[in-house]
Amino acid sequence: MTGADRAVPAGPADPARRADPTVADADARDLAFEGRAVERTALAWRRTALALTAGGIASVQVLFPLVGTAAFLLPAATVVVSLALGVAAHRRWRETHDATTHAGQYVPLSSGLLPTLAAFAVTTLGLAAAVYLVALLAG
């Protein structure tokens, strides 16, 4: 984002609609609401990334007696995934936020890669927990 991009006034993109005060007000309220929605979503991503990191780190306590140093692989992976999720979600929040507040447009979400990564990470953590339970059953 350059300074020139940021200088675009808030409000509807269409000048005719921007000139109409009632439409401009309604659109500004809409965009403010959308801004909150974008923010809530970014916060939800952060919470999820934090929970994932916490889960990964807590798993060391349980897995270390069973597998030794290899138990650190899981938290390392969750920290990397959480960081990736956090950074990607933040970048997307920036883009969406800028587009809604400065250019007066709704922007579509980028892709389904982030949800896929998040679901994959948590499923992996769950499978590790399943392995732990199986190890308890066997031993």
């Binding site: 979503t41 306590q61 349980v62 980028s110 892709s111 679901a119 948590v122 499923t123």
Partner: protein, 148 residues
């Protein structure tokens, strides 16, 4: 688990065109369909707020899955005054739900996004009953394990 949708209402965004020389037309960056294709390849962009809400719902499911996994492991990792076999059974139920929930959440997210793009009714949340029953079963097992 069948979800019938009127196909005629939901067309693909762009058709693959074959050029005169018989080769496939390469899509430009703008035309490239986002992943997953069966979601983003159909319909038109919905109101971004709906997409965002769908995404938050997915994330809430992911966190729920993390909670289920943590609860299942905690039942075994902590020294609790619960009958061992019942506590293990509850742990297995919780961890199973914790493994299935993110998968169900992802499928639910994708189907909802697809329905939003096609302006169709939203699919029913199937994972509700799975996780609900799982937590109920685990709760009963723990309760019985505590009391006997």
């Amino acid at each position: 688990m069948t979800y019938e949708e009127p196909v005629s209402l939901c067309r693909t965004v762009r058709e693959t065109r074959v050029r005169q020389d018989g080769r496939m037309e390469q899509p430009t960056d703008e035309q490239r369909v986002r992943f997953p294709r069966w979601v983003y390849g159909v319909g038109t962009e919905p109101d971004a707020r709906f997409s965002l809400a769908n995404e938050r719902t997915f994330l809430a499911w992911v966190r729920t899955a993390l909670g289920l996994i943590a609860a299942g492991v905690a039942l075994e990792a902590l020294d609790l005054p619960i009958r061992a076999e019942l506590s293990l059974a509850a742990a297995v139920v919780l961890v199973t739900c914790g493994v299935l929930a993110p998968v169900g959440a992802w499928i639910g997210w994708a189907r909802t996004e697809r329905a939003l793009r096609c302006r169709l009714p939203l699919p029913a949340p199937h994972a509700f009953s799975l996780v609900g029953l799982g937590v109920l079963a685990a709760g009963v097992l723990v309760l019985v394990g505590l009391l006997t």
